[in-house]
Structures are given as C-alpha cells and as structure tokens.
C-alpha cells in the first residue's frame, strides 16, 4: 500500500516503456565498471605510446626504417600485422599504426565483448536480472545500458589513445592522425560489442556467449589476414580490416569507419529483436530431455571432468582446425607471390621458395599456438568457477580427494591442449598440402603446431599453481599468455632482452619445421609444468574451500 502510494507521487520513468529506468541502470553499470574502464584506458594508451617512443631510439635513421619496412612486407608479416601503407616513407606514425593497430584493436574488441556479456547474459544466468526486471525497468533497458557502458569504455580508451599519441612528438605523428587512431579503436570495439549483444541472446550461459564473441574476434583477425595476403578485398568483411583501411597517420581516411557504424546499428537491432522474442533466462534453443541415469564414464572422476570440459575442448579444436586450414589454404598464394618476383628468383633460385613457405609455416604455428593458449587458461580456470559457483563443495565432501578432483581437471585440460593444437596443425597441414600439391608437408606442419603442447602445459601449470596457492590472483595467468604473445609478435622488433623472452614458455619450443626437432626443451617444459602442477595440488590440499 505504502509502496503504491509512493510510486504514484515519484516521478515516473521517462522515455519509451521498454527503456524505463535506463538512466538509473546505466549509472549503476558504469559505477560497477569505472575502475576497469580506467585500467583498460591507461593500459592501452601507455603500451601504445611506448612503441613510437622506443622506435625513435631503435630505428633513428630513415634507412633503418626502410629496411624494417621491407622485412615486414613478407607474407608472414602481412598476415600478422596487415598491409603496410607507407613502404616508401615508413615514419614513426606509420610504424605505430602498422604494428600496433590490430594488437590494441583485438584488446578493445575483447574488452567490449566481455563488458556486454557481463551486463546482459551473466546477470541473467545468475538470476540477478530477475530482481532488476521485476522493478520498473524496461525490457530492453539492461541490454541498452550494457551497450552504452561498452560505448563509454571504448570512448575512454579512444580518448586516452588520442590524447597520449597526439602529445608524442615524432616524425609522422600528428593530432589529426591521433584522433582517427582513437576513433578507429572505438569503431572496432563497438562492432564487437554489438556482436556480443547478439551472442548474449543466443547462448544460455555467459561462458557460451563469451566463447562465441572471442571466436568472432579470432575469425575477424584471420579473415583480414587471408584478405591482406591474397589482396582480394576479403579484409573488408572484418572490423579490423575497416580500421586498417583508414590508413591512419598515412592518408587519414574517416570513411572506412562508416561500415562499423552500420554494423553496430544492425547488430544492436538484431539483439533487441531477439531480446523481445525470448523468455527471460532462455537462449534461442529449447532444452531437450536427457538421460535419467549416468553412463559408466561419468561415474569416474576423470570421466566427470571430461564431461565438463568436452564441449570447450571440441569447440576450440574445431575452431583451431578451421584457423589452421585458412592459413594453410593461401600457402600457394605466398609461393606464387614470391615466384612472381624476378629478383628473388635470380638471387636465390627456385628451391628457396620451399624454404620460405616452410619458414612461414613455422611463424604461423607459433602464432596459432599463442592464440589458443587462451584455452589452457580458460579451461584450467574451470575448478575455480566450480568452487565459486558452490559446485566444488558437494563433490569434495564425497570420497573424491582434493588432489583427485583437481588432478582430474588438469589431466583433462592437458589432453584438451594436445587435442586443440593437433587439430590446428592438422588443419594447417591438410590445407597447406592441398594448396601446395605436396603431401610431404602434412606431417611436418602438424608436428610444428603440436610441438607447442608442452608450452601450453606450462601455462596450465601456472593456472593450477595459482588456483591452489592464491586463487584470487588467478587472472595473473593471463600475464604469461600476454607476455608470450608480445614475445612472438614484437620480440624481434622491440629487441626484447633474452631473459625476458626466456620467460615465455613458447620461446623454448623448437620452431618446426624450420628448425630441427629437439626433444630436450620439450621435456624440460613438461618437467616445469609437472612441478607447477604438484605445487598447485599440494597448496590446494592446505587451503579452505571455498576461499
């Protein structure tokens, strides 16, 4: 009674009913995210500004920069960093955009997807949005608030990038370029925010929606790589391709960002449409009845862990198979591209093409292994999410020991890593041999990617050790993946010291098929992984659950 009387005197929600109380909700989501937004903005801006500042010292003369530009026009480099729009005049602005745009672009894409899913599907699957939607909150208000929060986060990152780059005084870096550079990041981020909003409608779990969004980011990077190497315009299908097409710091074109605006509007409209057609808590697909009894496999600890990890392991394997196949499919493009160059042929003879293709395969294997290292962290963190969700407690109060439970998860994820990497190698090998017409490369490329399995095990070992000893610090495991990525991606360009490179487990894996196979570093990595795993198991035995 009292509540009814009060609500009639309180100011009613303004705007359309489906967006009722949007403003209040938005203030709340922004408040929850404010420190995260600050961290993303500072992190992105600082790591970006560090690049031109260090390049001024590393490549002071135009001749040195020209040489670098030439190195970076190899197909492998184009696949990784994109097209160099300023081969003739490779100034610091062009260098920064060429080498950093995809790197930070992928970061803001991931940030945007995580933000949108966190405020939509995660709220819904935990039941919190039931509480919110039962208040005078419009049906679309949480979705729109999530997208506007993503917009605010992207705007903050874009602004931080523009202001920090604009104030760098180095040849080729100016304010108009800096503003466009920031805007390009907002465009990439919002494209993936819209895509994540759609994924959040389709998947019943936040994990599924995040997985699909991250897969879309990977696909966008890959499509652009294929398009850039083949030069066939395929890159225009990727938001990262739109950002690249601005030729920022070289020609400063704003028009290529228009597709991003249209794409964001379209995905937002699709998400809103799906949102108004489904029940709260439901995904697009209805649940079917399942078995009334557990099969024999589910009754063992390892079988139980496999059941929880099965979907992710198979999904990542399939995605990696496709990624490998896409890289493999344009290996003959590289061969013909190089073959077309008389200079190369006269200098090295035609035998050298085979070596160059093989060298390219070694680089691709390293990149693929670094990308899917995310699997080891995500799947390795599963025991933590089980613990936080309250699902570890009932299992750990049965006859299953803590070491047995955690060890089963680790064993299954270790196997999953092998599966994911072998699938990627198989894709690269199959498509590569088909496009080159040479089946001898199939086992070589498969082995090249699969050889990174012990490096993934070390990443997994770090995750398990943190879970046992300091579960709240588990996000630090991403640092190992991030460092490995930087070492593979920019290690040579930044001339990182050997000890820093040595911290990346990937650095110790022989670069097959270019380098010779050597089992010793792989065994050493496996030993490190086992030591970390043991540390995690022992520490987990000694701590509280839940902690």
């Amino acid at each position: 009674m009292r509540a009814a009387a009060r609500s009639s005197t309180a100011p009613g929600p303004r705007g359309p009913a489906t967006l009722a109380n949007l403003g209040r909700l938005l203030r709340f989501t922004l408040r929850r995210d404010r420190w995260g937004i600050l961290a993303w903005s500072l992190g992105t801006a600082l790591s970006t500004v560090a690049v031109p500042l260090s390049y001024v010292g590393l490549y002071p003369t135009e001749a040195q920069r020209g040489l670098l530009a030439q190195t970076l026009s190899s197909p492998a480099a184009v696949a990784m960093m994109g097209v160099n729009h300023a081969v003739g005049d490779y100034h610091y602005g062009a260098m920064t955009a060429h080498q950093m745009l995809f790197f930070t672009g992928i970061l803001v894409a991931v940030m945007s997807a995580l933000t949108v899913v966190r405020h939509t599907r995660e709220e819904e699957s935990t039941g919190r949005s039931e509480l919110v939607l039962s208040a005078a909150v419009g049906r679309h208000a949480p979705l729109v608030a999530a997208l506007l929060t993503a917009l605010a986060a992207n705007a903050a990152v874009g602004l931080a990038l523009a202001l920090s780059l604009g104030s760098v005084s180095a040849e080729g870096i100016d304010w108009s370029g800096a503003w466009l550079y920031g805007a390009a990041h907002v465009a990439v981020g919002m494209s993936f925010a819209g895509l994540a909003a759609v994924a959040a409608q389709l998947y019943e779990s936040a994990r599924g929606a995040v997985g699909a969004s991250l897969a879309a980011v990977g696909l966008a990077y890959l499509v652009r790589a294929v398009g850039d190497v083949a030069g066939n315009g395929l890159a225009w299908l990727s938001p990262l391709g739109w950002a690249q097409a601005t030729r920022v710091f070289v020609s400063d074109l704003w028009a290529p960002l228009l597709p991003a605006v249209a794409f964001t509007a379209l995905t937002t409209a699709i998400a809103a449409h799906l949102n108004s057609r489904r029940d709260m808590g439901a995904g697009l697909w209805a649940a079917r009845p399942g078995r009334s009894r557990a099969g024999r496999a589910l009754r063992t600890p390892v079988g139980f862990a496999w059941r929880l990890h099965r979907g992710a392991a198979l999904g990542w394997s399939a995605a990696n198979l496709v990624m490998g196949a896409m890289y493999g499919a344009f290996l003959d493009d590289i061969e013909s591209m190089l073959a077309g160059s008389d200079v190369f042929e006269r200098m090295f003879g035609s035998d050298v093409f085979q070596d160059l293709v093989v060298g390219f395969g070694a680089v691709i294997a390293a990149v693929m292994a670094a990308i899917v290292a995310a699997y080891a962290v995500l799947a390795g963190s599963r025991p933590r999410s089980e613990e936080l969700a309250g699902r570890a407690e009932p299992v750990l109060s049965t006859g299953l020991s803590r070491a047995g439970w955690l060890g089963s998860h680790a064993l299954v994820v270790a196997f999953g890593s092998l599966l994911v990497l072998a699938a990627g190698g198989l894709g690269l090998g199959l498509a590569g041999s088909a496009s080159l017409g040479d089946w001898s490369v199939l086992p070589r490329f498969t082995a090249a990617v699969a050889a990174y399995t012990p490096a993934h095990w070390v990443v997994l070992g770090v995750v398990v050790a943190l879970f046992g000893a300091a579960p709240r610090a588990m996000p630090l495991a991403w640092g190992v993946v991030g460092l490995s990525f930087v070492v593979i991606y920019l290690g040579d360009l930044l001339r990182l010291p050997a000890w820093l490179r040595g911290l990346s487990p990937f650095e110790h894996v022989p670069g097959l098929p270019l380098e010779a196979f050597d089992a010793r570093p792989l065994l050493a990595l496996t030993g490190v992984a086992l030591a970390l795993l043991t540390l995690g198991l022992v520490a987990f035995r000694r701590r509280d659950v839940p902690a």
């Binding site: 399942g290 009334s292 557990a294 699902r391 299992v395 006859g399 659950v545």
Partner: protein, 306 residues
C-alpha cells in the same frame, strides 16, 4: 561408538571477522541433532569444518572418530552432505547428477534411488539448468538419502520445498534414524527441528549457547501460566522467577522460570485453584529469548539479520 561428532573450543575467523568463537558440540551416534541459529551464527562454517572443507584455527574436532581435515576422504566415504544452496552442473541431467554424487561417495542403493525419485516427484531427465531451487534441493536430497552413509549432514535442506515435500523429507529422516543413522540437521525452521530432533544445539555468534533435549531446554525457560483462584493471587507477583504478571477479572496470567515452577504452583494451590492452564514454552520462545539478547552480548561484532 556412542559419540558421532565431538567438537571442543572450535575457532575460525575470516580475516578480521570472527565466525566461530569457541564452539562446543556433541552429537551422539544414532540421534537426530538439530543445529539452530540465525543467519550468520556460524552454522554453515561449523558444518564445513566438520566436512574438512575449512581448516579450524583452533579447537578439536572428531567426526566418526576421525580428524576431518586429515582424514577427509576416508571420512567422506561414510557420510553424505546436502548443502544449503545446491548448485548443479547445467549440462547434466538430474539423474546423472544423482548417480555422479552416488558413485563419488562409493555407491548408492538403486532401489532406494528410484523410490526417492518417485516420493520427491522429481523428473530425472531434465537438465539441471532448467531446475528450480526446490528441484535442485531434491536432487541433492535423493543423492544423499540413497547413499549408504552412517552420517547425514544436512544444511537447511528443505529451503525451497513445498509443504508436501517437507512432510516427505521428515518421513525420510525418521526412516534414516530407525535404520541407525546419525543426522546433523542445521535449520532455522523451528517446526522441522521440533518435530525431528532428539537433541538441539542453539548457535549464536559462533558459540553453542544452549544444548540438550527439547525438554531440557524447556526446563531452562519460562512456562506461561493462566490461573483463576479463590483468593486474590496478586501476591505471587513478588515470588522469585515470576515475570510479567497481569490480573484481570479474577484471572492472573504470568510467566515463570522453569526452576521456580514448583514453588509457584505450591503457592497457587494454597490460594485455591479454580482453573489452571499452563503452556510449555515453544522452541520459538526459547529461540526468541536467545536471539533477542543478541544486542546485549554483541561486543563490536557485526550485526546479523535473523
């Protein structure tokens, strides 16, 4: 063995927040023991220590003669636990979750599993993500009750169940007791504890403040008396142990402490009793008396809502 659970001086703190402050608990083998207390009193922390999930900061704990922290696995094979907030694996069906828990405990009785599924009216083919809270609770209950466990540890096991299912649950606990099992039942549903428990411990602010049979506890608290006497009974007001005396229309109504009940009755008899109604204290009154004194005893601890 006569003692199933023996706990002395149990202490546990989370950072600066003190959860258990010298808790003592004794559960005899074969009894149903009720653990009562408001939210935040330390019930769940106590159960988690008894299961070896949390490590005690101090005190001694023995469950079925074992140290739960050191012998967790051996102990777990002999008990079954139902958490207060049952979370299940969204992609597994209810039937799979029951079998999974059963096999991890070391087997469950097939016939009893089917019977319990029927009695609790559970659809085991549904995925756990589609279950309501009550249905998730049923999955955990079926898994625990179908296991061959000597000890059942139940943490507010029926929150979310409807009254029919509550009755079924009480029948199951009685059957478990007659089969010789020990049950530790944490709850704040008074009627459930009153109906099921042989003995009760009341937890408040990390200590057991009262422990015994319901009769023992009644002895410690006040009985409500309504009497009509031939001579005026106002003089009873001055007797030790008498509280809140009101008289109207020749009838007196007062509360009297358990240990003074005999003296007061003798005095009333001397005044010539015409009618007499005496009501034993309900568990609710016992609890309210303990809970409401919370404010007095709280020295700087965080206030909890009951």
């Amino acid at each position: 063995m006569t003692t199933a659970i023996a706990v002395q001086g149990l202490r546990k703190s989370y950072g600066k927040a003190l959860a258990l402050d010298g808790l003592d608990l004794a559960v005899r083998a074969g009894e149903v023991h009720g653990l009562l207390g408001p939210n935040g009193a330390g019930k769940t922390t106590t159960l988690r220590i008894l299961l070896g999930l949390l490590r005690a900061d101090g005190g001694t704990v023995a469950v079925l003669g074992m140290d739960p922290w050191r012998d967790a696995v051996a102990l777990h094979r002999r008990l079954a636990y139902v958490p207060g907030d049952v979370e299940l694996w969204p992609s597994l069906t209810g039937g799979e979750a029951i079998d999974l828990m059963g096999s991890l405990r070391g087997g469950l009785d097939r016939r009893r599993r089917e019977e319990l599924i029927r009695r609790f009216d559970l659809d085991p083919t549904k995925r756990c993500r589609t279950y309501s809270k009550g249905n998730r609770q049923k999955v955990a209950l079926v898994a625990a009750l179908a296991a061959d466990a000597e000890l059942l540890v139940l943490d507010e096991p029926t929150t979310g169940l409807d009254p029919l299912m509550e009755a079924e649950f009480q029948a199951c606990v009685r059957e478990a007791k007659s089969a010789g099992r020990t049950v530790l039942l944490s709850s704040h549903i008074l009627a459930q504890v009153e109906a099921l428990s042989d003995r009760i411990s009341i937890v408040r602010q990390g200590r057991v403040v009262e422990s015994g049979t319901l009769d023992d506890l009644r002895h410690l608290t006040r009985t409500t008396v309504v009497a009509r006497t031939r001579l005026p009974a106002d003089e009873v007001a001055g007797m030790p142990g008498v509280h809140d005396l009101r008289s109207e229309g020749g009838e007196v109504r007062f509360d009297v402490d358990g240990e003074h009940l005999g003296d007061v009755m003798a005095a009333l008899a001397g005044l010539g009793i015409v009618t007499l109604v005496s009501r034993p204290p309900t568990l609710e009154q016992i609890l309210l008396r303990h809970y409401s004194s919370r404010a007095e005893g709280a020295h700087g601890r965080e206030a909890t809502t009951a």
